[in-house]
Symmetry: C2
Subunit: 523 residues, 2 copies
């Protein structure tokens, strides 16, 4: 496949004329070919118009057709072959094995949602039969199903150029829900985006779906992204990125004549709480495991362990010794973009020069755009009085908060903002202390995990990749796993509707054989 740098608008290619976007070789900062033309507001309008036109047809595709479409996208992505992996490695600086793994994850997500669509629970079918002889008034017949909220805008993420981008989790779950999707590509990986965008566009054609089911736009500034969220035909937004970016989109969405939901996954430092017995029994080993999690993928995960909480003592010193030793040996890694590298260096410099923060260890020095891991420590009292110490430093930097006792640890937890994950390291004697903290922790994060780290987000049915604000804009949802489809659905009730007017799934005799709740009871 030859990259053209074109916008993909409802199945047609068009050169964007509003400035240009260039992929950069993440390792060198050199500009890559080709130049990608930025979309104009007319291009945006066209993509939204086509999405709205496609909506009625697309959302009524049979479940089997929709599932096949998702599987076709998955296969078309695999069919790109090595070109996709190579371009993605070049643009992102991520190691080849990681990119291959991420491709597997992306394909796996699409297939998971195909199975979710076929299974049909997402339709939330309910029937309350009529009771004509009820007193004092007869009961009407009510039938309910979920329908798509409408066309969805998806913003590609810098740190998962495949799994959270053009055909990533947001796109897969929105398409599964019956929503056409307009993607704003992340400028950090335009080539990867075009390749995947072509795979989706081809799947739309392969499956005979309306052209507007999918469009891909490049944005040379911010106007197209902002305009996308403001467009009246867009009914929900999926975003993974910075808090600044996410809250800006939330504001635009809230101020529309018709406000719409924004699902922004934004900012999390993923506290790791080390308990006494675990530290005492295996502090050093936990420290080494932590360093491995921290430095994986240059620390560029939303779930990267950016904060360590523990009560002072020998155990914590062992942890620090283990973590520091492992960190010092950790090679620097190329970061996703020169811009992200610069922000990371600034974040580390800020901590380094912070009066209440001590630098404990640094990773190996690397090449020009490589991130050098860093481990810091502060006292709980200082952490509590310096709000800026809770800010995410995107990359392999982490801060240990030394607490005097469990009461101080609890105060630090109370002061935490919403998180994607909180990890607990515990041994049997720690269970009582951990249990006492759980009610607090449950309100602070979307996922609580034991004796591990938040990196590694399993794509399944019981995953929550979400959490209270500012981890996400909407803690009632998840952006990973099968529950993510719920973000793009709304219920509609049909009262006393003749059989031939009812959606097929709701007709008498359950002709599609889907899960239906009758008078509140399943089965």
């Amino acid at each position: 496949m030859t990259l053209t740098g074109s916008l993909l608008i409802g199945g047609t290619e068009r050169r964007g004329t509003n400035g240009e976007i260039r992929g950069l070789d993440a390792a060198t900062g050199e500009k890559l070919e080709p130049a990608f033309g930025g979309a104009t507001l007319q291009d945006l309008d066209e993509a939204c118009r086509l999405a709205a036109e496609a909506f009625d047809t697309y959302r009524e595709t049979s479940l089997e057709d929709r599932a096949k479409f998702l599987e076709t996208i998955a296969q078309n992505i695999l069919d790109i072959g090595d070109e996709l992996v190579e371009r993605c490695v070049l643009e992102s600086g991520l190691p080849r094995a990681r990119v291959e793994g991420e491709r597997g994850r992306t394909v796996g997500q699409l297939r998971l949602f195909a199975s979710v669509v076929r299974e049909g629970s997402f339709l939330g079918l309910r029937v309350d039969p009529a009771i004509p002889d009820r007193k004092p008034l007869p009961r009407v017949e009510l039938r309910l199903r979920n329908v798509s909220v409408g066309p969805v805008a998806v913003f590609g993420a810098s740190n998962f150029p495949l799994a959270f981008s053009v055909a990533g989790g947001d796109t897969a779950s929105a398409l599964a829900a019956g929503s056409p999707v307009v993607v704003k590509a992340h400028s950090a990986h335009p080539g990867t985006s075009e390749l995947v965008g072509r795979a989706v566009t081809k799947a739309v054609k392969d499956c005979g779906l309306p052209a507007g089911t999918f469009s891909l736009l490049f944005d040379s500034g911010r106007a197209v992204g902002q305009g996308l969220v403001a467009d009246h035909r867009i009914k929900a937004v999926g975003f993974t990125g910075s808090r600044t970016g996410g809250t800006a989109l939330m504001k635009i969405a809230a101020e529309r004549p018709e406000p719409i939901p924004v699902y922004a996954e934004m900012s999390s430092i993923n506290p790791v709480i080390l308990f006494r017995a675990a530290l005492s029994n295996r502090g050093e080993a936990i420290g080494r495991a932590f360093a491995a999690s921290l430095t994986m993928g240059a620390g560029q995960f939303c779930t990267n362990p950016g904060l360590i909480l523990a009560v002072e003592g020998d155990g914590l010193e062992s942890f620090i010794a283990g973590a520091s030793e492992a960190l010092k040996a950790a090679p620097a890694s190329t970061m996703l973009t020169p811009g992200i590298h610069k922000s990371y260096c600034e974040g580390v410099a800020k901590l380094t020069s912070h009066g209440s923060v001590e630098k404990l260890a640094e990773g190996q020095v690397g090449e020009r755009f490589q991130g050098q891991a860093a481990l810091f420590a502060t006292r709980a009292a200082d952490f509590l009085s310096h709000k800026e110490l809770q800010e995410e430093v995107f990359g392999s930097s982490s801060l240990i908060v030394r607490c005097r006792d469990e009461a101080e640890l609890a105060r630090v937890i109370d002061a935490l903002e919403g998180q994607l994950t909180i990890a607990l390291h515990i041994d049997e004697p720690d269970h009582a202390s951990a249990k006492a903290l759980l009610p607090k922790l449950e309100l602070k994060a979307g996922r609580l995990l034991v004796n591990g780290f938040g990196t590694g987000v399993e794509v399944g049915h019981a995953m929550v990749h979400g959490g209270p604000y500012p981890a996400t804009s909407d803690g009632r949802t998840t952006s990973v796993g099968s529950l993510a489809i719920a973000r793009f659905l709304r219920p509609v009730s049909y009262q006393d509707m003749p059989q031939d007017l009812l959606p097929q799934a709701l007709r008498d005799g359950n002709p599609l054989g889907l899960p239906v709740r009758t008078d509140g009871k399943l089965g």
Copy 2:
């Protein structure tokens, strides 16, 4: 029970010192005893503090205990006896039979949510077992349940002093979800509110729950209501009322340091579409049925039929004849408050003097605070060019839009804002035309109904009392029926957590016998 005019804050009574609120005799406008003291910001703070304190205990009550609490509230409301009905009739001007019916509905809602709690599907339990030997990486164990979002603010509604107020649907669903509730009473029925508030407070004590599980505040202005939405301990808001009120709360919630969801049910004119064959076969009868629905309860329903759409012709004239005749005979009814009566009269006057609107019929003239029904007509072209004709006139006023043909009817539908309900009147020969419109209608309303009117909102499992903005602030939800509980829940995932730390519902062997989805499969 003697009304005291006190605030009920976490089980204690306190006289509000911030101005006073008086119930009015809806029929005469006379002030009723006693005066109710308005809450101060300190009272508000206290109610929120107690709610936050109660939260950890309340949300972990057993399902049986929580269900019994809801049932105890229901019983305590019934135990108030006739005093509640009489006070409610006095304050609302609603007929006694309606108030008794509404009490039954309120009690029924509480009992419905008790059954929803016992059944346990709302917990959304999911388990993805570990796969230790999965390649290339082992699969972790994930377990998921829904937890309450936190304490909820509920705003009493003027038009359902029982079913959408202190212990109405919002309160019942929030308590069912595990959320403590702080209610801001509607100033139109403070006595009714106190009586019901005492019934809830007593249930909290009867059931040995933490005192902060429930508080009731009176607000002599707007500061307490606004402060409630802004309070950091409040995590969601339930509101039924005007568009102005709802959007003001949405704005406060969106601008908080931690934005929270507002579930505001605001504004709907509930279009009724009359199809050709139905009109031709039984236009007059539909007209009479429409007039009955329009004038029921002085038209003070969110689902009142405020807009009639039809293609011109003899059938529509028959409808108009039937409706006009019935309307002219319709007695005026006392409206909920002198303020609502005044707004209604202004709305009717605006339509009466509108250059593009013709008045077709009026109901009987009534007493001072009684609403006189009114029926208007306009042409589709005028409706399309005058946006103000879509504004809700709260009361028994309705507007017929005469369309030249089906194409013009379709354009009118395209121009409609989001609605709670859309009704279709059809006979067999109309099915094809109706079917062609359904995809549009489904996107405009939460409930589509055939050969009836939206008034009469069944409390069941398949009900959607919701709809796209501005019918509600969040079209993904319903405020009536068992699905309403979903508004106050968020999912939490537990990864590799030892059995003794897991919530009981998620432990091995399903000890509570609740519905669990294992690897995505139910049962």
